[in-house]
């Protein structure tokens, strides 16, 4: 029985629903902009990661390592670009 039950997928599905609900809270409750934004960003990133790993099967094929390297590289460059830009144009002007 254990092999037949897709535990990973079900947990993933429930988790993504919970994440969506938390994100919706931001709309329905009254909180400051910063807190709201933080919650949205955090849930969005966890959600994206969840989808890639659980439902898009990253890491399950034999070039799983290449896929994760690629994602890591992309994330690093995106973060550098975004925070670099903020530093240059806002924080250190």
């Amino acid at each position: 029985m254990k092999e037949l039950f897709p535990a990973k997928q079900v947990i993933g599905f429930v988790a993504s629903l919970v994440l969506t609900a938390i994100a919706l809270l931001v709309y329905f409750t009254d909180m400051t902009f910063t807190v709201g934004m933080t919650i949205l960003l955090a849930t969005a990133f966890i959600q994206a990661f969840l989808q890639i790993v659980v439902f898009m099967h990253a890491g399950e094929s034999k070039d799983g390592k290449a896929i994760y390297t690629n994602i890591l590289y992309a994330v690093v460059i995106a973060l550098v670009t975004v925070f670099g830009t903020l530093l240059i144009l806002l924080w250190d002007m």
Binding site: A74, V80, T81, L89, M93
Partner: protein, 648 residues
């Protein structure tokens, strides 16, 4: 009449009208010639619809050479205007237009297709593949580049050239300060060819990761393939930034959005920021394949394997990462604080370290090697000291405090030409000479080649070294004239003389091709240079399927092993080969993109919408088409192999 007025040039001159007539005559001549010699069918079957990586490579090569002459004409005009104080050859507006088109043409439409030419020609052969991973996408990439290049090149006769510099900084590039359609041309032409580059990036990465011959692990790839791989990884990560920035710029100009405006919440510096997030990685996209070519050439003509293979690879990986961490060094003077500038100063200087590693590796490869001074080797040997000077002045510029002195002077112009000409252009010419016999079946004349080399090298030094001095003395870049009192006259005249020598040098390349085509021996075998890596293991000219049997790889110099150590390169029976079919869709899509781009530039909404729909129809046709390629029979392969000099 009112409708046609928008196509008029805002700032005409007799030279532009003369070019208009010349362009019309040449176009009519080409069309008439094709019809007269009944070449339309040949052109369509063999070139316009081809998906063969070798033919696409040759088309990139020809385009790059043509664009070299277009950009070169701009250059010589600028140098002539500056050759003496208060010259009256060009006025300020024409000078602005010319330095803008010079920069864009040279980087986007000359250097980029040049490296794509070599990636297409060499990479599949070096990894023992039959073609790239997505041959039809590859054709589409070329035709998008071609459409972009043509679009950009007609700007000066229809509607006016862009004139805000190749960096096209806002607010200058906004509608308030650049009223003509010129900057629209900039936005759309680069956009179209940029999409093509991005597709090449994905295509080449996939090819190199997935299609290597059995036995070729990553660390057994020839160095040019490694450099192409890293360059394409950078393309995949850097070009999307350019795409988005150009799109924002386009909507600012056409639909009155306010991304880069100075009021209504816009932020003009955001453009400069985006431009260089793409722009600095872009210079490494250009230089890395050049490094790859130099590596192949230096080890071939030193008769030694490349020194420090793995440090070569790791330094490139490091460069690819660092190249995304330095962009602010292009605008140290735009007002951000000392903290930011210091951070980016340090990351910039750090790039010099892996670059230095490579320089030493080339030197150690030559050390105790049996060096043959052929033309490709001459370029490579000259590259090392000249490029080092360019790198050292780069480190000078990287000191943000000092950059307040150097920025926007001729010193900067000298720096980047000092890296790009001996770095990229010399590599392309060396590669051209080195690989010419592989694809055209004869060697370019070495004597004429040496004359070219000396003209270019001496010309380069004369043209650009004086700029270091005048730059330090305060001669500004992008200024169309200067007064006698500045004392810049003599050095600028020297510069002009150097530029003239270079111009003669480029003409001798064309003469060399013509001369060698007529006189060179065709009996050169398939390995005229006694070379080392896999691309030389197949016949000359290369059959469409590249290798009759899939090669077995022993090392990064598999072909050398097969010549010297008895490694058996080709094993087993010849089998049927599966090849992709030709297709007209990429060409048609390229042309539709051209029309779409043109319509957007002039805000002609009806044709713009129609052509966008046309693009989607082409994509839909491709999706629903059943095309399983074709098979070359064993009999046909054996016949071809025998004709080309025996089965290998």
């Amino acid at each position: 009449m009112e409708f046609l007025e928008r196509f008029a040039i805002p700032h005409p001159s007799p030279a532009i009208y003369a070019s208009m007539v010349a362009i019309a005559l040449v176009s009519i001549g080409i069309l008439a010639g094709l019809t007269y010699f009944k070449k339309w069918g040949y052109l369509w079957r063999e070139w316009l619809t081809t998906v063969d990586h070798k033919k696409i490579g040759i088309m990139y090569l020809v385009s790059a050479l043509l664009m070299l002459f277009r950009g070169g004409a701009d250059a010589i005009m600028m140098r002539a205007q500056l050759s003496a104080p208060d010259m009256k050859l060009l006025d300020a507006q024409h000078y602005n237009e010319i330095f803008t088109t010079h920069g864009v043409v040279m980087i986007i439409f000359m250097a980029m297709p040049f490296i794509f030419a070599f990636m297409n020609l060499i990479v599949p052969l070096q990894i023992g593949a039959r073609d790239v991973a997505f041959p039809r996408l590859n054709a589409l990439s070329f035709w998008l580049f071609f459409a972009g290049a043509m679009l950009f090149n007609i700007s000066f006769v229809i509607g006016g050239s862009p004139d805000a510099g190749w960096t096209s900084y806002f607010p200058l590039a906004g509608n308030d300060f650049s009223e003509s359609v010129g900057t629209n041309y900039y936005m759309l032409a680069i956009q179209i060819s940029g999409i093509g580059s991005l597709m090449t990036g994905i295509n080449m990465c996939t090819t190199i990761l997935k299609m290597r011959a059995p036995g070729m692990t990553l660390m057994k790839m020839p160095m040019f393939t490694w450099s192409a791989f890293i360059a394409n990884v950078i393309i995949v990560f850097a070009f999307p930034v350019l795409t988005v920035a150009l799109l924002m710029g386009t909507t600012d100009r056409l639909f009155a959005t306010n991304f880069f405006t100075t009021d209504n919440g816009g932020m003009d510096m955001l453009w400069a920021n985006f431009f260089w997030i793409w722009g600095h990685p872009e210079v490494y996209i250009l230089i890395l394949p050049a490094f790859g070519l130099y590596s192949e050439i230096i080890s071939t003509f030193s008769k030694r394997n490349l020194y420090g293979y793995s440090s070569m690879v790791w330094s490139m990986v490091l460069i690819s990462l660092l190249s995304f961490l330095v962009w602010t060094h292009h605008f140290f003077t735009m007002g951000q604080g000392a903290l930011t500038n210091s951070i980016f100063s340090i990351t910039t200087m750090a790039i010099a370290v892996p670059t230095g590693v490579k320089i030493f590796n080339w030197l150690f490869t030559m050390w105790k090697g049996k060096i043959r001074f052929t033309v490709p080797m001459l370029y490579s040997v000259a590259f090392i000291p000249l490029f080092t000077i360019g790198g050292v002045t780069g480190v000078m510029l990287a000191m943000s405090a000092a950059d307040y002195q150097y920025h926007n002077t001729m010193f900067l112009v000298a720096h980047f030409h000092n890296t790009i000409i001996p770095g990229v252009v010399f590599a392309m010419l060396a590669g051209l000479t080195f690989y010419w016999p592989k694809f055209f079946g004869f060697i370019l004349n070495e004597k004429i080649g040496k004359v070219t080399f000396w003209l270019l090298t001496v010309g380069f030094v004369l043209a650009f070294f004086p700029m270091y001095i005048t730059g330090l003395d305060g001669q500004a870049r992008r200024m169309y004239t200067y007064s006698e009192a500045t004392g810049f006259g003599a050095l600028n005249m020297l510069s002009f003389a150097g530029a003239a020598l270079m111009a003669i040098g480029f003409v001798t390349i064309v003469y060399n091709i013509y001369y060698s085509f007529k006189n060179s021996s065709r009996d050169i075998g398939s390995d005229p240079w006694d070379a080392r890596s896999l691309e030389w293991a197949t016949h000359t000219p290369v059959p469409e399927y590249n290798f009759a049997r899939t090669p077995q790889i022993s090392s990064s110099e598999t072909f050398w092993d097969s010549k010297k150590n008895g490694h058996e390169l080709f094993k087993g029976e010849i089998e049927e080969i599966h090849m992709p079919n030709n297709s007209g869709i990429p060409f048609v899509m390229g042309m539709i993109f051209f029309v779409a781009g043109f319509s957007f530039i002039f805000a002609l909404w009806v044709p713009a919408v129609i052509s966008l729909i046309g693009i989607f129809i082409c994509m839909a046709m491709r999706s629903f088409e059943k095309d399983h390629g074709r098979h070359i029979s064993v009999k046909e392969i054996i016949e071809t192999e025998e004709k080309l000099g025996g089965a290998k």
